[in-house]
């Protein structure tokens, strides 16, 4: 899933100060599962903003709404929902960066009477897994050319701080990465895993230069499935 953290409250508050009608817009998919931007978080943030502006004697209307996914038109097309969006001065989206941009684009395509202002309430962090209660870790950088079949199912591009393909580097110590004793050395994990599987020979040949074109280095990416296009 895509994970995110809520921005500091003061930063959020500053970004919506000056608007009279605010909608906090939650997203019920990834960011709801990682408890950063779902329905519940939208409600809480709206209450906090009401309280903060109320304490300052400001008359600000803050409501919360949520959709299943802000990264897909079909979940935001409900006319009653769009009427509410139209009535607001600002939409504080607590979706990931994809959702914020897509909602902004969708609202401005759909609501023609006036421009819709959409600003982010989260910092989008990574594509990761829920490792334990309250713990998420990054697992994929979306490099576009998966190497997991030869690295024991552990991604060195993502989990090695230097994205080494022929690791581990000289900073690997006691199974931990040189940059942080709380971070596992990905190559240590890879070696251990391949050893158990009896496949250590897989990483003996030199892994040659990676083609970064399928990654973001090739520019913003687009996926086209002609068979699905109308």
């Amino acid at each position: 899933m895509i994970t995110a953290d809520r921005k500091p409250f003061e930063e959020i508050k500053a970004s919506v100060t000056g608007y009279d009608k605010i909608i906090v817009l939650g997203c019920e998919t990834c960011v709801a599962i990682c408890q950063a931007g779902g329905e519940k978080e939208a409600e809480i943030l709206a209450s906090e903003l009401r309280l903060a502006f109320g304490n300052e004697g400001k008359k600000v209307e803050v409501n919360d709404l949520h959709v299943i996914r802000q990264c897909d038109d079909e979940f935001m097309a409900d006319p009653a929902f769009l009427e509410k969006v139209k009535a607001a001065d600002v939409i504080l989206s607590i979706a990931c960066g994809v959702g914020v941009q897509h909602a902004c684009n969708f609202f401005n395509r759909t609501i023609t009477e006036k421009p819709t202002r959409v600003i982010p309430g989260l910092n989008t962090t990574f594509m990761g897994a829920n490792i334990d209660v309250g713990l998420w870790e990054e697992r994929c950088l979306g490099c576009g050319d998966c190497v997991l079949e030869r690295t024991g199912g552990i991604c060195p591009i993502t989990r090695c701080a230097k994205s080494l393909l022929n690791g581990p580097c000289g900073g690997s110590s006691g199974g931990k990465c040189e940059i942080n004793p709380d971070t596992d050395c990905a190559w240590h994990l890879i070696i251990e895993r391949l050893e158990v599987m009896g496949e250590l020979d897989r990483i003996k040949p030199v892994e040659m230069y990676k083609d970064w074109r399928p990654s973001h280095s090739g520019g913003p990416r687009k996926r086209v499935r002609e068979d699905l296009r109308l």
Binding site: S163, N166, G170, S172, G175, E178, H188, K204, V206, Y209
Partner: protein, 307 residues
Amino acid sequence: MKSGSNLEKLLEKGEFVVTGELGPPKGTDVEAVKQKAGMLKGNVDAVNITDNQTAIVRMSSIATSKILVDEGLEPTMQMVARDRNRLAMMSDLFGAVALGIKNMLCLSGDHQTFGNHPEAKNVFDIDSIQMIRMVKDMRDEHKVICGDEIEGEFKMFIGAASNPFADPFQYRVHRLAKKVEAGVDFIQTQCIYDMKRFKEFMKQVVDMGLHEKCKILAGVTPLKSVGMARYMAANVSGIIIPEEIIERLKGAGKGNVAAEGIKILCEQIQEVREIEGIAGIHLMAIEWEHRVHEIVEMAGLLPRPKP
């Protein structure tokens, strides 16, 4: 000859070589480089010029190397994968050859979080092992990565590092084997203090015949103080300093620790000379260039041979 460098010729002749190290200044102080170079001249066969070591911004390794060439010393230009993509590396290598640099060292590089610009974006387009292959292909195939021909001569003696003290220990020799497969000519190891582990490592190296495919220089660093030893043991990743060495430094008493450190170093040099597969030492006297002459002399390594 791969580059015809002093270092290559001496290693080919079977001389026990001594390489030194020089950290460029955090600025433009050419005189500081010349001063350090002067202390190393005649005492070492080649000098590693570090490349923004520990991710702290310094005069570039290529420019500093050129100053050494002009001073009549032979540089080994270090290059890290942290700061350059493949285009910048190859372009800098053309420049290095054009400026008379004949040795280089391929490194991944310390992560930028250690340095003075932890906010920086790193590169790591290719890793140190791929860098070795890249330089080898530039030299032997006369081609850049994409296959385009190189205009003009390209000669380079290719080095890399090996850290027998990092983990997982049993895999370390295989990583060295990959560097050999990639085409490395010489290896300089991380500073050795844990001699037992180093000997175990070298036995694996010799068993695999890697010492016959590349020249291995044992890395040594004098311990200047008990504080430095403790700091390195605790904070420098991939360095193991046995407690008995720290105890020995402490036992030397006030005012005698540095001398004891040099004594320990000379003993270490004698010990590594006895190890099969060791072709020389890489003396990293960090900010102690003024004592290199004394160390090399005490270790019985002067005068340096002529190639």
